[in-house]
């Protein structure tokens, strides 16, 4: 008897199983339910302590971050979002409120893993210690990491939310993504 067809069937089943395993979704880390990080009161009342992307049902604590010596933005834990201290607070009348978080890490998905699926008009709530400021997405942009516009970090421009994570193809030799995904959102009083 010709064993060829049977071997093809077995090989096909194996390949389908291997492919399906590679396509299976990686589980998100459990929602972060701990209390938001406490920031120095001297940084101001408008300092963000928590972000919620309403459409995606994502909530993450926000911690204050600075600029590293190599020029990169300091980033918090993979399940947290960082507020760049040099930018505006949510209570300021002008300037960019810059928030950045991981798309992923070696241990799994990050707080902003789903950011590339966000659509214009989506609402992002930024909670401070005393109030919540809402922003509506007006644009989603992708920049090569080394060409991130300095204008995003302006403290004297229009008041807006700038949400940054990584995107584009992943370079396995360096362990980094090629691009930065940037979501711009304007103040919104819903």
């Amino acid at each position: 008897m010709n064993r060829g067809p049977n071997l093809m069937l077995v090989a096909g089943v194996v390949l389908v199983a291997v492919g399906a395993f590679g396509l299976k979704p990686v589980l998100l880390p459990p929602p972060h339910n701990s209390a938001p990080a406490v920031l120095p009161a001297s940084l101001g009342e408008g300092v963000p302590v928590e972000i919620t992307i309403v459409d995606q049902d994502i909530t993450a604590p926000v911690v204050a971050v600075g600029t590293e010596r190599d020029g990169s933005l300091e980033l918090p834990r993979v399940d947290e979002v960082g507020w760049w201290v040099g930018g505006a607070t949510a209570a300021d009348a002008a300037g960019s409120v810059v928030l950045a978080g991981h798309v992923d890490g070696r241990a799994g998905k990050g707080a902003l893993y789903m950011l590339d699926e966000i659509q214009p008009g989506a609402v992002i709530d930024v909670r401070t210690r005393t109030t919540t400021a809402s922003f509506s997405v007006t644009g989603v942009h992708k920049y090569h990491k080394q060409k991130l516009p300095a204008e995003l970090f302006r403290a004297d421009g229009p008041h807006r939310l700038v949400l940054i994570t990584c995107g584009g193809p992943f370079d396995y030799s360096t362990g980094h993504y090629r691009d930065n995904l940037v979501v711009i959102a304007d103040p919104f009083s819903g």
Binding site: M8, A11, P40, L73, G87, K145, D156, I164, G168, F170
Partner: protein, 221 residues
């Protein structure tokens, strides 16, 4: 031309206004402060003088509006703090220096030598952040280890103001060094190509299954 007020001149002016610029009160009722209290009064006074000078420098030379605004606030607040400190020092017979200490003078000279621009803003705010951290720690040492309530009260009043300066300096210092890039992913899970390989493997498997089924049907005919 607008006259430039030096910290020392302002200190003399403040002392004259408050009528306590002369010799300290003498007599049996003069309280004797601890060394901690004395040291705090001297270092806090010199810090005030240095801040008035450094604030005036950045108010004129700062490029970013946030730096100039903060510099103005620093000048105003440290004038007020020194106005409160000088009578207490006189009350306890502590002689206050007429100028900032040597390290503070060196910092002032270095910053004065810099041209106005982003580098000056960065250096000024970083230097101020560092010295405010030291001043906050010195104030905490007085609050926890001082003996004279009037001196401890000075440290407590200054602590609230220095904390606000520290926060603003942290923001100004960071704003002077905006990030050039954001490395926010190291897992590769979001790589759009990541699903293509499993899809290709699955498709190849399905093709093999279809071919195998077709060949079996033909061979059974």
């Amino acid at each position: 031309m607008r006259p430039k007020w030096t910290a020392a001149a302002i200190a003399v002016f403040v002392a004259t206004l408050t009528g306590i610029g002369g010799a300290p009160a003498q007599g049996a009722g003069l309280a004797v402060p601890s060394e901690q209290d004395k040291n705090y009064l001297i270092t806090a006074h010199q810090f005030n003088l240095a801040q008035i000078d450094l604030g005036q420098l950045a108010r004129l030379k700062g490029t970013a509006a946030a730096v100039r605004d903060l510099a103005s606030k620093i000048v105003t607040d440290h004038l007020t703090l020194d106005e409160a400190l000088i009578p207490v020092a006189n009350q306890f017979g502590v002689t206050l220096p007429a100028s900032p200490d040597d390290a503070q003078k060196v910092t002032q000279s270095q910053l004065e030598a810099m041209p106005a621009g982003a580098d000056f803003d960065r250096e000024w705010s970083a230097s101020e952040l560092s010295t405010h951290t030291t001043a906050i720690n010195q104030g905490q040492a007085e609050i926890s280890g001082g003996t004279e309530p009037a001196v401890i009260k000075l440290a407590q009043d200054a602590a609230a103001i220095l904390a606000v300066h520290h926060g603003s300096l942290m923001r100004a210092s960071t704003a002077a060094s905006p990030p050039s890039h954001v490395d926010s992913g190291t897992g590769g899970l979001a790589d759009p190509r990541r699903t293509l390989i499993p899809l290709a493997i699955t498709a190849a498997g399905l093709l093999l299954i279809m071919a195998g089924v077709t060949l079996r049907r033909r061979s059974s005919l």
